[in-house]
């Protein structure tokens, strides 16, 4: 998958949810990715450079990957 697109999407989701407060935004961003992203898109989160993600998106990506692994 195109990593730039995925990074942009994750950051955009996080930015739009940021007003909910950080903890809620992380939770909701992770939930959004779980509910709407295809498995290969979620899997590609492993391959992207996490430094390109905003703090909320980064934490959310980690939550998605944790749940996926567990």
């Amino acid at each position: 998958m195109n990593h730039d697109n995925l990074i942009r999407m994750a950051n955009q989701i996080a930015a739009n949810l940021a007003a909910q407060g950080e903890a809620a935004a992380v939770e909701q961003t992770a939930q959004h990715i779980r509910l709407y992203w295809d498995p290969r898109m979620k899997a590609a989160l492993r391959e992207i450079d996490m430094q390109d993600l905003s703090p909320i998106a980064k934490e959310a990506a980690a939550q998605v990957l944790d749940r996926k692994t567990s």
Binding site: M1, N2, M9, A15, N16, A19, H32, Y36, D38
Partner: protein
């Protein structure tokens, strides 16, 4: 049914307390305010009439409908006389007979007596009325002054006006005013010189303000205004009620036929969505169904560089199935997907998603709502609990303030716009939020109280500022909120919007909306009575489309404008069945009825019905499918009735995605732009050739009825079934009603829907189930579907798409009245007379800075690509904003649009693209190359 004109009760129906009177010795009870004429018609009487028809208010000019009323002086006109309790009316007496015959004699003395060769012969109210009054002779002869021999106005491509057949009854003029609300027609001159005129001297129907809605033609009692198709083909011999396949209004029509040939489409008076009205597309633009470009034989090719080869259905289907199965075996189920069509029926959309989920084995199914109203589904689902609008169209009759944001109904949803204009003429107030001065801002007898001409991309900021005023000035309906919404969430939201940074003054530099105007608009909406919000793609097609929908829902809840007539949140859905396609489980994350694919209990229902295991993970959306195709992990797609190459953003990227696939199956009427990249072409059927249902923007499920045989041999659902069978699925639907039965079994909101019930009762608005057996015209009446209404904090996040020195202007796109979306249908009709090419609207200041005049070729360039088209210099757009349509493939406006999209749904940001405009000397190299490539891709091998 055998052809009969639609019943005409003479004057409109009224509501009021019952009144009983006696007509010709028979007692009749009707609502107060009803005319004597209508009361007589209700009991089967037929008082002769010429100037009266039930689509317009009574006029009382022709004097044919005189009656005798006991105790009344003279002979009142029955059309203008309201009923009264105890009234005793005689409609037929020797005195009345004599007067009517005398009046008729005068009419006929100035009428060409060419009945046998007239297009309206045996379908003419003048002829019928002459017979009704027993006219046998014209004592005056025909040699006096008359209007005979006038040259007819044939300028309109669809109907003609013959002045010598006109009786100057003004029905056409009144229909144009009262039904359509355009006021294009008038009666010019006085006395004998009076005549119907379509505008100023020198104007004909085509050059006038006429929008060709057909209301005048329908109202005409003679052959003065007649459809050209009736002249060419003859009087219809049967009529079938069906539903229009253009926009989301869902007008119902009588398809009037001779044999297997469509003579005309006439709006059905009993249509619940259109109430007997129509627009130029549904009424007249159906000629594409038999256009020479239509492909009716299946075709295949090994490579997209090969010419097409016509083959049998068996060969095409087995070729497609073999490719799909090979790809699945090699790359797995998730390498396959499909796109359902919002132009096709509910039953057809349901089958395509069933094929993808149950046959291909993936959830990679999407639909064109991805590029239009997917944010509506998301936003309204989060706030209210349902992915649809809250009202029926009739609701607008009770609105006091209409807030219209990002929609241009007079072009996009013209039949509903006429009803909205009618309400505005009655005194409702209008607030328009749109960067462009749409017609409703100021048109005959309609003027917006406020036009907030915002900077494109700042919808959320404007809505937050409106909410700021409502909350900070104490205008919120806290009683409603406390009862119906989550109070704590409201408090959080109210704190957020009350923040000084969200005041109109603070946001004015961003929105460019004067703070005073915005405050006044907010006060009007919050305090002006029933407030209704209508919106369109100017809301959804943004990076913050979903946030905007939620901000709209917040505003409606905060002002208590939900759950009754006259209020609500009303998305004006674009395509005829885009609501239905979404309802049918066309999105990759949810099954029909908007239930997430990860829900095991829902999945189990479908697995039990279909006999297959379903993937629990969401699939790819269209833009993700294209990314994955370029990446190599998505390799086959079945596209029913959608032209993604022309309609989706960033054409270069769409082309790259399609070109990377091993199997592209296009199922359509025409070799559309997407088909240039296809390996299999399966010919489709038009809405005239199939039976099923469409669901309109008010959630109304209506029957689509087959009026002629499919030119390709199959209805579209049958083609999908052929493909399903070929990949090993044991489908065996005998007709589309069986598909609806399956939908009803699996979808709670459709539980009470069946073709039999729709046939018996007409349209039903979902949910139709045990809790709402008669359907749900208005939603959230006693409470929100999700329980408590949820206020969502929606922060304004500017789009990444920014203007700068290289791209200093903002491009926004839209559509116009005569053309429809990618133009596949309307470009193949005479509608091209009104719009033969896309043009770029540019403000005079921006044009002058670039040395441009109207008609000049201009280069339109963005970060994504460039194209050329002609300029139209107009102050309808604000300085810094340019606008175009995307109806013509030669323009390819979407070469310019970017792949920026809504944060929640990936709905493309069509409405904001930073561009530069400069002088050009004609089409770009890319346009020339594209045309050559398209022609090459459409080669069809000569049959041996």
């Amino acid at each position: 049914m055998t052809y009969q004109p639609q019943p005409d009760f003479g004057t409109p129906a009224k509501t009021g307390p019952d009144v009983t009177l006696t007509i010709d010795g028979r007692a009749v009870t009707v609502p107060a305010g009803t005319s004597v004429m209508r009361a007589a018609a209700e009991i089967g009487g037929a008082i002769p009439k010429l100037c009266a028809t039930d689509s317009v208010e009574a006029f009382g000019s022709c004097r044919m409908c005189l009656v005798e009323i006991d105790g009344a002086r003279g002979l009142p006109a029955s059309c203008t006389t309201p009923v009264a309790a105890g009234m005793v009316v005689k409609t037929q007496t020797p005195r009345l007979e004599k007067i009517r015959r005398g009046v008729m004699e005068l009419y006929i003395s100035d009428h060409p007596l060419d009945c046998l060769t007239c297009a309206a012969n045996n379908d003419c109210e003048l002829q019928d009325t002459a017979a009704q009054v027993g006219l046998r002779d014209v004592r005056y002869g025909y040699d006096g002054a008359n209007h005979l021999g006038q040259v007819p106005d044939v300028s309109n491509p669809y109907f003609s006006f013959a002045l010598d057949k006109c009786i100057t009854c003004s029905r056409c003029v009144r229909a144009c005013e009262e039904v359509q609300g355009t006021f294009a027609l008038t009666i010019e001159g006085r006395g004998f010189a009076s005549k119907v005129s379509a505008g100023a001297a020198g104007d004909d129907f085509l050059s006038s303000e006429c929008v060709s809605c057909g209301a005048c033609v329908q109202a005409c009692p003679t052959a003065a205004l007649t459809e050209k198709s009736v002249k060419e083909i003859g009087k219809p011999e049967r009529a079938v009620i069906t539903t229009c396949a253009y926009c989301g209004v869902g007008c119902t029509f009588r398809a009037e036929m001779r044999g297997n040939q469509l003579v005309r489409m006439v709006p059905w008076k009993d249509g619940k969505a259109n109430r007997g009205h129509s627009c130029v597309k549904g009424r007249f633009a159906w000629g594409y169904a038999n256009h020479a470009d239509r492909i009716t034989k299946p075709m295949i090719r090994e490579k997209i560089t090969d010419p097409w080869r016509e083959v049998s259905w068996e060969e095409a289907i087995s070729f497609a199935a073999a490719r799909l199965q090979k790809i699945k075996a090699e790359y797995g189920a998730r390498a396959l997907g499909g796109i359902t069509s919002s132009r096709c029926t509910n039953e057809e959309a349901f089958l395509v998603q069933k094929l993808v989920r149950g046959g291909f084995g993936s959830n990679n199914v999407d639909t064109c709502a991805r590029v239009c109203h997917s944010p509506t589904g998301y936003g309204l689902s989060k706030t209210f609990g349902t992915s649809a609008g809250t009202q029926d169209f009739d609701s607008v009759e009770d609105s006091d303030v209409i807030l219209l944001i990002g929609a241009n109904p007079t072009d996009g949803h013209p039949v509903f716009a006429s009803r909205m204009k009618k309400r505005l003429r009655q005194g409702a107030k209008l607030i328009v939020i749109d960067p462009r001065r749409i017609d409703l801002v100021r048109s005959p007898h309609v003027e917006a109280a406020h036009h907030l001409a915002l900077q494109p991309g700042t919808n959320v900021a404007v809505l937050t500022a409106l909410a700021h005023v409502v909350v900070s000035e104490g205008l919120a309906d806290e009683a409603f909120i406390a009862e119906r919404c989550d109070w704590d969430e409201y408090q959080d939201w109210a704190r957020f919007v009350s923040d000084a940074r969200h005041s109109p003054e603070a946001l004015e530099p961003v929105t460019r909306v004067p703070a005073g105007d915005l405050r006044a608009a907010a006060r009007l909406f919050a305090t002006g009575g029933n407030g209704a919000i209508y919106y369109g793609l100017g809301v959804t097609e943004h990076a913050q489309g979903s946030s905007t929908v939620m901000a709209i829902a917040n505003l409606a809840m905060a002002t208590g404008n939900i759950g009754r007539r006259g209020v609500g949140v009303n998305p004006l859905r674009g395509q005829n069945n885009v609501q239905g396609a979404c309802d049918m489980g066309s999105f990759p994350h949810e099954l029909s009825g908007y239930r997430h694919i990860s829900d095991a209990a829902t999945r189990a229902l479908f697995e039990a019905e279909w006999g297959v295991a379903l993937d629990s993970e969401p699939g790819l959306r269209i833009p993700n499918m294209l990314d994955a195709a370029v990446d190599g992990s998505f390799r086959a797609i079945y596209i029913q009735g959608e032209d993604i190459l022309q309609s989706d953003p960033n054409t270069h990227h769409v082309a790259a995605g399609l070109a990377a696939m091993d199997c592209v199956i296009v199922h359509d009427l025409f070799l559309n732009e997407t088909a240039n990249y296809a390996h299999v072409f399966l010919p489709g059927s038009t809405f005239l050739e199939k039976t099923g249902t469409f669901t309109n923007a008010e959630r109304r499920i209506q029957m689509v009825r087959r009026v002629m045989d499919p030119a390709n041999g199959y209805e579209d659902w049958q083609v999908t079934q052929l493909l399903a069978k070929a990949i090993g699925l044991g489908w065996d639907y005998g007709d589309s009603s069986q598909i609806m039965d399956e939908i009803a079994r699996l979808t709670p909101s459709f539980a009470g829907v069946s073709h039999a019930r729709l046939e018996a009762e007409g349209g039903l608005q979902w949910p139709v189930n045990e809790a709402a057996p008669e359907g749900s015209p208005i939603m959230h009446v006693d409470g929100f579907v999700r329980g408590k209404g949820k206020f969502m904090v929606t922060d304004y996040i500017p789009t990444d798409e920014r203007t700068g020195p290289r791209y200093p202007l903002l491009l926004t796109t839209g559509r116009i009245l005569s053309q429809y979306n990618v133009g596949a249908q309307t470009r193949r009709t005479a509608n091209v007379v009104w719009h033969e090419e896309d043009v770029l609207e540019i403000h005079p200041v921006d044009a002058e800075n670039r040395g441009l005049s109207s008609g000049d070729w201009v280069r339109l360039a963005s970060r994504a690509g460039e194209t050329s088209l002609r300029a139209l210099v107009t102050d309808r757009v604000a300085p810094g904003v340019v606008y175009t349509t995307f109806h013509h493939p030669t323009t390819q406006a979407n070469v310019v649009t970017t792949d920026n999209s809504d944060w929640a749904t990936n709905c493309p940001e069509y409405k904001v693209t930073a561009v530069q405009v400069s002088a050009s000397n004609g089409p770009s190299d890319w346009q020339r190359d594209y045309e050559a490539q398209a022609q090459h891709a459409r080669r069809i091998e000569a049959a041996e």
